[in-house]
Symmetry: C2
Subunit: 249 residues, 2 copies
């Protein structure tokens, strides 16, 4: 059973202020916890159900400290409606300094507010082998439990940086090609873009801010064939990145 103090601590980590204060975050569900255990993150707590323990005895036997609890304890402490697997508290890690090389392809996000969208974009980045995601400071927080769970484990591989996006882009606009997704850009299907440079996606409702758009070299649109006015930003990211990656060497 989880003590009241531990439940209170875990619950506090749903709030960014307390996550930053404790430099810790929560990981829930079988897939995400398994990825966490196989990554370099340091654990503060690991709670598993009997079912999860039986299925992953060998892995958990590799020196992890864990406590067996009931599903109802995991649900009480966490954010999932059901969780018959595991919940961990991990320490945030220090990112290496952000550096781009000439052959890098990075995703930049301007004011992506929805945690599910951010998490899904991180998962897409990981699928396509893009390990640097640069966020404006107003984006959803990487360590938000909903972001972590939507990444389906990709949070262990993709590095997400928060910074002053217009200023950072301005420093890179000469050396790197900067693409921006927009409804009035060049037709993606008529381009053969190489996966190099920086691809900027903008806010769910408003798109890319003018001060960010000012740093973009080429606007791209996904050609529309029907009646929808727009696509979800994670959907758009996936389509554009896939079009770039089909030209990867």
């Amino acid at each position: 059973m989880l003590s009241k103090a531990v439940v209170k601590y875990i619950k506090s980590l749903q709030v960014k202020k307390y996550r930053n204060q404790h430099q810790a975050f929560v990981v829930e569900g079988a897939k995400s916890v398994l990825e966490l255990l196989q990554s370099g993150f340091e654990l503060q707590h690991l709670f598993v159900t009997d079912a999860f323990l039986r299925e992953h005895t060998a892995l958990l036997g590799k020196g992890y400290t864990y406590e067996v609890v009931k599903e109802e304890d995991l649900v009480k402490a966490g954010t999932f409606a059901t969780n018959n697997a595991a919940l961990a508290v991990a320490r945030m890690r220090q990112l290496p300094p952000l550096q781009l090389s000439q052959s890098d392809f990075a995703i930049a996000l301007d004011d992506i507010r929805d945690p599910g969208n951010l998490g899904t974009i991180i998962r897409i980045a990981d699928w396509y082998g893009i390990y640097k995601v640069i966020c404006s400071e107003t984006c959803a927080d990487f360590y938000n439990p909903k972001v972590i769970s939507s990444t389906m484990g990709s949070f262990t591989r993709v590095k997400v940086y928060y910074l002053d996006l217009p200023a950072w882009l301005q420093q890179h606009t000469e050396k790197y090609k900067i693409y921006g997704a927009a409804l009035n850009g060049d037709n993606l299907h008529r381009m053969q873009p190489k996966p190099e440079g920086i691809l900027v996606l903008g806010n769910e409702a408003k798109g890319i801010r003018p001060e960010v758009a000012a740093q973009v070299n080429q606007l791209i649109k996904i050609p529309a064939f029907g009646g929808a006015e727009s696509l979800n930003v994670a959907t758009a990211t996936a389509i554009i990145v896939d079009n770039f990656m089909r030209n990867a060497k």
Copy 2:
């Protein structure tokens, strides 16, 4: 103000059984209600806030019966956390019989359970001009409020049919090419598929059922370049459909 009886009625429509009994469903938020008003759906109720009325006076003046209410009334009756716009109750409509022509491109969904995924897929279909989506009977319900809201208005254009998917596919396997998304299929980037036939996407966790896969002519995989094990099913739909549509005439 909304009467208790009306709130109770609207709330009952969150449940499929009552939606079917009353042949009615709920539409929430500015974008979705605006699309509804410009579609052929028959309205049972239309509640708008003062703000929405002021912004759309001309449209609402075209003979709609509506009632002005407060945001808190819309939130109380509906499923949104905030809604300073509108909420409507519309009557379900009869679909025309499902018929494919040789040049049609349709999406078939096998056991897509998550309403957000189904709604997002409908929005993607609408973007690419695909107006027939065929669902196995175990898919999320089209009229679920979360499906409706995730389509961002595309529910007014895309026709979604529910049927016995393996049996239906079996009837079409000779005349139409049937593609299926899978992690072990042919590399999508090495194909130049024309947007004709039927594209099948499977359950979020388990993929396409064997009895459905048995009707598929060609399995397709989205090439992976990184560490993620899979993509969200709506993301995968978008990427595959985009690859087909780049070869549209």
